[in-house]
Every structure is written in structure tokens, then in C-alpha cells.
Amino acid sequence: MSQLDFEKPILELEGKIAELKNVQSDQSLNIGEEVSRMQSKVSRLLSQTYAKLTPAQKVQVARHGNRPHFLDYTKAMITDFTPLAGDRNFAQDHALIGGLGRFMGRSVVIMGQERGHDTATRIKHNFGMTRPEGYRKAQRLMQMADQFQIPIITLVDTAGAYPGKDAEERGQAEAIAKSIETCLNVRVPIISVVIGEGGSGGAIAIATADRVYMLEHAIYSVISPEGCASILWRSAEFAGDAAAALKLTAQDLYELKLIDAIIPEPLGGAHRGRDEAVASVARQIDKALTQMTPWRGDDLKLSRRKKFLAMGRA
């Protein structure tokens, strides 16, 4: 997947380290010292670079193809994962995947957008852009979780809901609205993590939750910076300015009191430490579910409402 331009010096160093390691076996011990010296330089560069990423750079990191995606998370943190297909109405949408599984001992319903990791899977999953039937499947699974009193985990990673003719014909707006309404009305804990890109209505459709977390370099926005720039600046070239103005980073959303916590990413971003990133997310979800168990359904619904109603008030 695409390299990040601002990582170029780091990637070059990493390349050299890899070369040195290849020749190490038949050379002197000095190479080992050289390698560890270069590695500590890489670490230093990474922590410097990632400590002051601009919002535009965060957008790039959030969309990086090597970040763990939905299926990487389910594989690592869910046992007995049992995907469930279809909205019982029209079709199965591979952009939003969901099902039953066991998370650290508990039964859960887990769902989220999957963007795919190569051309074939990206096309299969429609780049994580959900159609109405995906949101209607989400509603069905949330209602099932409600019926069986099983907590819900949603992992958000989408550029937005699919802007297609067929999606409009089948009521994309209604599907998103009803999905938000369902999130608001379930009487079980619902935990959301924005693991990459939280794209507008397509994201909040499954992220109207009791606890909303974002990974450290994830973004969450009402509109893509490119879209915003082309409307307000009349040119997508100003996407960097729009990214800054929109206040779309995890740090911004936490500051605005729109999310509950930021989940730290490993040094150099989740795309460099995939297992570590998944483990951090799992720890945060486990902590939240432990805190929230046992729950009273009516109280949950009420406090969820209060939480969202309080947002943006002085």
C-alpha cells in the first residue's frame, strides 16, 4: 500500500537496516552495533514525527492500508466468530460485516466496516462503503443482541456510506437513520471504536454508543477533508486546511467531549504494530464492558440519551 511521504527518512533508514541484517551473518560484530544505533535513530524519528502529526497527516495514517482492519480485529480478539449474513430483505452487504462471537469469555455481537487489503478484497467489500442492506443488517444484529441481552461492539472504519444509485433507490438515508435509532434504543451495552476513518453518517450509523473510543491516529468527521475543501475552498487542493479546520483528530474529538477516550497506538502508528494496536483496542473494550456489567437496560438507554443530548451544550 502507499507509503506515507512524511515517513520517507524513516523508511529509508529501515531499508538500510534490513540490508545490513542480510549481510550480518558473514561480517564482523560491528554491524550489530551499527544496526542497533540505526534502530534507535528510527525510534527517535518515529516518536518525533508521530508526536506532532498534522491533521492532514493523521488523515493519511488513518487511511493507511496496512492498519489492522475489521477482520484482523475479529481474528485476533474474538473466538468462535460466527458471521451472520443478510438483511432478510434484499441482500448481503460485504462492506459491513457482523456476527456473534466470544470476546474474553463473553458472548458479543460484533460488527464493523471492512475495507479489504488488496484489490480483490477491496472490491468484494466495496472499500468499506456500506449500502442500505448493510445498515439494515446492522439493525437486525443489534436487535438480536437486545433480545438475547448480549453486548454490542462496533468497529468503525469507512470513508462514508456508499453514494450509489442503487443505495439511494433502496433508501440509504432511511437505513442510516434507523440504524442510529436502533443504537439509541437497545438495552444492552454498545461500545464503538473508530479504528481508522470515521466517515460521516456512514460511521455514526453504528457509532451511537455508550462508549465511543478512537485510536490515537484515527479520524472522525462530518465530511471528508477533500469534500469540505471542494465546497468551502472550491478546490480539493485545500484538503489539508480543511482537515485542520474540521477538528477531526482523536485529540480534537476528545477535547470537544464527543468521545470517551483515546486508545494509544504503538510507536509509529497501528500500521507498524498491528498486533499491539489490536491488543490495546481489546483491553479498552474489555475494561469498558467489565465496568458496565451487570447492566440495567432502561438505565443504559437513558444514560445513552443523556450523554448525546449533553454534547455541544455549554
Binding site: 443504537c183 460521516s200 453518517g201 472522525y220 472550491r234 479546520a245 443530548l309 451544550r313
Partner: protein
């Protein structure tokens, strides 16, 4: 969602701007048929073209007037909200854009709330003002909808929301995105009280507005020709690489696709909504001479759906809900809220 560039700017111009180009402002062209329209006649016809029936934008005050009985209502002020929470600036400061719109409209934000009667039933109407930043929904509008819902509950009134909006207000970033769940909470509170929540979809209803409170009504009514959809037309055309049919995302198209209950002409809105509110809020009338089955109706076959006829269905909702007076809470206290778990 390029709603602003390809849709809203021309619409704003057509509503507020270029009328000056017409000599003395007395005549204007219909957007649809290009027929010349004389301003007095156009206003008397509720801004509907009297040549072709095209429904043009209408001032939010006139919108409230035509919805309420005899045009009478009490205006309910919008709650105060923090101004420009993001300190947003593009080519212009959001704070300045807000001030300009406030100066132009003499209102605080893109929503106007009124309380009055429709068809004799108590109703709260919250109507979007498209001339205020494209009717975009930020914290001010969201908070206004919460206020409208609370007022409806307090007064045992129906809630009618009239979107005319390109979607979320980008200048409030994720805070405007949060208005989607917030406004759904507001209308759900009304629905849980057994009070009617009616959406009157007007031109345009798109983006984050269409994908929130606007699509969870008990009843969806639309004005003819209104554009209603989630994504903007140009974005869709760029995505699917085909030209969309002219009627795509119109009210009539949504009717065909099952997303709205009916398309109603502007002149008939008060009567139609009044009739619906009567049926929903005054579920049993007495002393009505027509309050009997018409001749021959008793001969309906066994497959008939007369669930309200006596003796046909013991313990139905119809039986529970007799003698509910219009001004009382619509749900008897022992009845569970209609919308239980989601």
C-alpha cells in the same frame, strides 16, 4: 456530498439573490417552465408556479402560516448555544457567515418553531430556513429540534418537522454530525409519548438531515418535486459513472420507492395534516351521525380487515383506545410505550 456547490448555491441565488435582476422585482421566471410569474399572484399561490405547478422555495414564516389553522401560531424562541465552537475558518470565518445570515434573516439560526393548531389539533411545527446557510444543521438547529420535541410533549401536541436543508453544517465539524443522534432522540421522545411525529419533506432534504430525524417519522409527507436523498447527485454520478434520470431523488421517485407516504401539494398541506392528526389524536368521536358502518359494509367477507368493528377482535388496540380525548396524553398510562427496544 457536494450538495453546496452543485445544488445549494444556485438555489440560494434563486431564493434570495437574483430577483434583483428582474425589472422592479415584479416579475420572475419559474425555475421549471420559465413562465413569467407576477409577484403578487405568485405569493397568493404560495410560491407555486401557476403555469406548471412547480413548488418553489418559500419563506419560513409563510411556511408556518400555511401549515397552521388560520395562519395563527406562537413563535417559540431557539435555545442559546455556544457560537462557533470550532473557531472554523475557510475563506471566511464561520462566525462572520453566521452574523451575515442572522442579519439577513433576523433569526438566530436555520430553524423556526411555532405552536398552534392544525385541523383543530395541537401541533408544534419546526421548519428549516433554507435561506440561513442552506438550512444546514449544527448545534443551534439540533437544540431547536430538541426544544420543539419537549414543547410538543409538554403540550400533548403533535410534532411536525419541515426540513429544507442540504445537510449537516460543516463549520461545526463532528458537533454537527452529533446532531443526527441528538435529533433522533428528540423525535423518539415524542413518539414514545404516543404523540404523532410527522415529517414534511421539502426541497431539498439531503445529507445528514435526511439520514436522521427526517426518515424516522410516523408519517412522511413530501411536497411535489422536492429533492430528497442522502448523497448529492453529482457525487453519485461520479461514483457510478452514469447520468442519472431526471426524476432521481424527487419526491415522486421516493414515493415509488416506498420512502414517503404521500406527495401533497402545498395548498393542501393544512387540510391533509389536519385530517391525519385528527385520525391519530382523536381516535374515537361521539355524536357523529356518520359514526356507523355504511350500508352494506357489514357484509364484508370474513377476510375483511375491519379490526375495529365490535365483536370482531376482542381486546384490540381499538378497544383500548376508545374515548381518548384530544388533549389528553395519547397513550393511556397502563399501555406500554409503542417503541420499546429498538
Amino acid at each position: 456530498m457536494n450538495w453546496l456547490s452543485n445544488f445549494i448555491r444556485p438555489r440560494i441565488r434563486s431564493i434570495v439573490g437574483e430577483q434583483k435582476d428582474v425589472p422592479d422585482n415584479l416579475w420572475q421566471k419559474c425555475d421549471a417552465c420559465e413562465g413569467m410569474l407576477f409577484h403578487k399572484e405568485l405569493k397568493a399561490n404560495l410560491n407555486v408556479c401557476y403555469h406548471c405547478g412547480h413548488h418553489m422555495g418559500i419563506h419560513v414564516k409563510q411556511r408556518l402560516e400555511i401549515l397552521f389553522d388560520d395562519g395563527r401560531y406562537d413563535k417559540i424562541p431557539l435555545p442559546a448555544v455556544p457560537v462557533d465552537p470550532l473557531k472554523f475558518k475557510d475563506k471566511k470565518r464561520y462566525a462572520d457567515r453566521l452574523k451575515e445570515s442572522q442579519a439577513k434573516t433576523k433569526e438566530n439560526d436555520a430553524l423556526m418553531i411555532g405552536r398552534g393548531k392544525i385541523g383543530g389539533q395541537m401541533a408544534v411545527v419546526a421548519a428549516f430556513d433554507f435561506s440561513f446557510m442552506g438550512g444546514s444543521m449544527g448545534t443551534g438547529v439540533g437544540e431547536g429540534l430538541v426544544k420543539a420535541a419537549e414543547t410538543a410533549i409538554k403540550d400533548h401536541a403533535a410534532l411536525i418537522v419541515v426540513p429544507a436543508s442540504g445537510g449537516a453544517r460543516m463549520q461545526e465539524g463532528a458537533l454537527s454530525l452529533m446532531q443526527m443522534p441528538r435529533t433522533i432522540i428528540a423525535v423518539d421522545m415524542v413518539k414514545e409519548q404516543g404523540l404523532p411525529y410527522i415529517v414534511l419533506l421539502t426541497n431539498p432534504t439531503t445529507g445528514g438531515v435526511s439520514a436522521s430525524f427526517a426518515m424516522v417519522g410516523d408519517i412522511h409527507i413530501s411536497e411535489p418535486g422536492a429533492m430528497i436523498g442522502f448523497a448529492g447527485r453529482r457525487v453519485i454520478e461520479e461514483t457510478v459513472r452514469e447520468t442519472l434520470p431526471k426524476e432521481f431523488q424527487t419526491a415522486e421517485y421516493l414515493l415509488d420507492h416506498g420512502m414517503v407516504d404521500m406527495v401533497v401539494k402545498r395548498a393542501d398541506l393544512n387540510a391533509t395534516i389536519g385530517k391525519i392528526l385528527g385520525l391519530l389524536m382523536m381516535r374515537q368521536t361521539s355524536g357523529d351521525p356518520k359514526n356507523t358502518l355504511p350500508d352494506g359494509a357489514g357484509g364484508l367477507s370474513a377476510g375483511g380487515k375491519m379490526v375495529t368493528s365490535p365483536g370482531r377482535s376482542g381486546g384490540t388496540r381499538a378497544e383500548i383506545k376508545t374515548n381518548v380525548k384530544p388533549r389528553e396524553p395519547a397513550n393511556p398510562p397502563h399501555e406500554k410505550p409503542r417503541r420499546a427496544a429498538g
